[in-house]
């Protein structure tokens, strides 16, 4: 916990001048127009509820993507063609597909409710957006995992198999644990990128931050407010993603081969 908190604090310190600049210009603006500030503050809880959805979608998509990606990444390195080929095909296909297209696809392919054991369960749009982003996330994580596995020296495989471990056991107990630190920085980069892509969900009607901003802008119908609200959206994503990317760079430096 403390080990993780320390670099996070460092990242926050690095972001401090930017935060000060944003806060300063915001304050300056509010002196110019008090009404704008009041309106913005009124809409802030609504915008925040939207942003919670962005975070939820990104966390779930990344969790699914990681689970699937680890399996796919290991499959990509299999000796058996029947195992390797589908994994490679999946990765190549979805690594090269626009996220927005995938979100549209999952939105319209899946029904709005599903039948489980006789009862109808709703299948809301935000959950479809999660799937839409989890699909490419799987492919990206698979590549990260594959690269990390290949970066472990083959002599580790020899040593493990020489001790009587099977291929799967070697992967599970010897290779993957060593991949963790190598894969963490690119994994966090991916998380930041997936988080930014959650804004695309607004286009299929998911109530997230960008959607909320559009609602606010339509309701207030004033140009200065519209500008302010979208700047707020930008600031929210920046404040969420910037510390992650700073932390990633720190970890990359720390884990760099010496």
């Amino acid at each position: 916990m403390s080990a993780a908190a320390l670099p996070a604090r460092g990242a926050l310190r690095a972001a401090w001048p930017w935060l000060a600049l944003a806060a300063g210009s915001g304050l300056f603006w509010s002196f110019l127009d008090a009404r704008l500030t009041r309106d913005l503050l009124d809409w802030l809880p609504y915008l925040a509820s939207g942003f919670v959805m962005n975070v939820l979608i990104s966390v779930l998509a990344m969790a699914l993507g990681t689970l699937g990606g680890v399996v796919l990444g290991a499959m990509e390195l299999s000796n058996a063609r029947v195992v390797r080929a589908p994994a490679v095909a999946y990765v190549q296909l979805f690594r090269n597909a626009p996220h927005l297209v995938l979100i549209f696809a999952t939105t319209y392919i899946f029904p709005f409710e599903i039948v489980v054991a006789g009862s109808y369960l709703p299948f809301p749009d935000w959950l479809k957006a999660v799937l839409g982003l989890a699909v490419p996330a799987c492919a990206y994580v698979a590549e990260i995992v594959r690269g990390a596995i290949l970066s472990v020296p083959t002599s580790q495989w020899d040593a493990a198999r020489g001790s009587g471990l099977s291929r799967g056991q070697t992967l599970r107990w010897i290779i993957l644990p060593q991949c963790l630190r190598r894969a963490l920085p690119p994994w966090m980069n991916l998380y930041a990128s997936i988080t930014m892509s959650t804004a695309l969900a607004s286009l299929v009607g998911v109530h997230e931050l960008l959607h909320a901003a559009t609602d606010a802008s339509t309701a207030v119908r004033r140009d200065d407010f519209t500008i302010a609200v979208y700047l707020t959206v930008l600031a929210a994503f920046f404040l969420f993603c910037f510390p992650i990317s700073r932390l990633t760079r720190r970890l990359e430096r720390r884990f760099a081969p010496r």
């Binding site: 198999r161 020489g162 009587g164 471990l165 099977s166 056991q169 107990w173 644990p177 060593q178």
Partner: protein, 264 residues
């Protein structure tokens, strides 16, 4: 080294083993016999296939033709992974680059395979690991990570890791070649003790003086063949083969230095 000379059962036998990597023919008909309790050293020029012979014996490499028998198991006919695992439980291997698992402590490195593969109870496996660490003189390094140890210490842990499976045979693949000179002695001392206690072992080595001292027989490889297998005195001093005489002769000055350094 064995003191008695009653014939002992054969533990390892290679007959006419051939192996190619692509177009390169690495083994061109290897014959090797190791009796139970024997220490056999394989010496010879670099690239003559010494390490590949060891990898064939524990199934890490698959020969194309020829017969390999280890403790009654026909290694060359093993097809499934389960069969090879059954073999590797009984044959330990120690590598030139130690190859310890860097994310595990010394104790975990040694207990991993016994607890997970042999299903030895943890307490028992840890007790054995501590015994083995005491034997390789590293009792105080139980909870250290490999990265915190010197090369010589890591190699001794690797030896303990191989022994923890209670193998019938241990393969030593140039285990001192990657070590700084001052650490070679401590590793050789450990192996010397193990051989004295009757461990069956096959050693690929460039330490001629050491091979001469501990081996029951020495095999000389050249160009993918075992040119001769004989007791050390015979191979080192009475061989009629000019290539062997030349190879041994090339080590003469080096041998004196080793003798001096180790005091053996």
């Amino acid at each position: 080294m064995a003191q008695d000379h009653t014939p002992r059962p054969i533990l390892v036998e290679l007959r006419d083993v051939h192996l190619s990597f692509g177009a390169a023919e690495v083994l061109k008909g290897i014959d090797l016999t190791v009796a139970k309790g024997d220490a056999v050293s394989i010496i010879g020029p670099s690239g003559s296939g010494k390490s590949t012979i060891l990898r064939c014996i524990n199934g890490l490499a698959q020969p194309h033709t020829g017969r390999i028998t280890v403790a009654g198991t026909r290694v060359d006919t093993l097809r499934t992974e389960a069969e090879r695992i059954a073999l590797r439980k009984r044959v330990g291997i120690v590598f030139q680059q130690y190859n310890l698992f860097p994310h595990l402590t010394v104790l975990e490195n040694i207990t991993l395979a016994p607890t997970r593969i042999l299903k030895v109870p943890r307490a028992e496996a840890e007790a054995l690991a501590r015994d083995l660490l005491a034997r390789v003189r590293l009792a105080d390094k139980v909870s250290a990570y490999p990265g915190e140890l010197s090369g010589g210490q890591q190699q001794r842990v690797a030896i303990a890791r191989a022994l923890a499976m209670r193998p019938e045979l241990v393969l030593f693949d140039e285990v001192t070649s990657a070590l700084d000179p001052e650490m070679v002695g401590e590793v050789l001392a450990v192996i010397r003790e193990l051989v004295r206690d009757g461990l069956t072992s096959i050693l690929v080595t460039h330490e001629m003086r050491f091979a001469e001292e501990i081996s029951d027989t020495i095999a000389f490889t050249e160009n993918g063949r075992i040119v001769a297998q004989a007791p050390p005195a015979e191979l080192f001093y009475r061989s009629g083969n000019p290539r062997i005489r030349q190879f041994i002769g090339g080590f003469q000055g080096y041998r004196d230095a080793v003798q001096h350094r180790e005091g053996i």
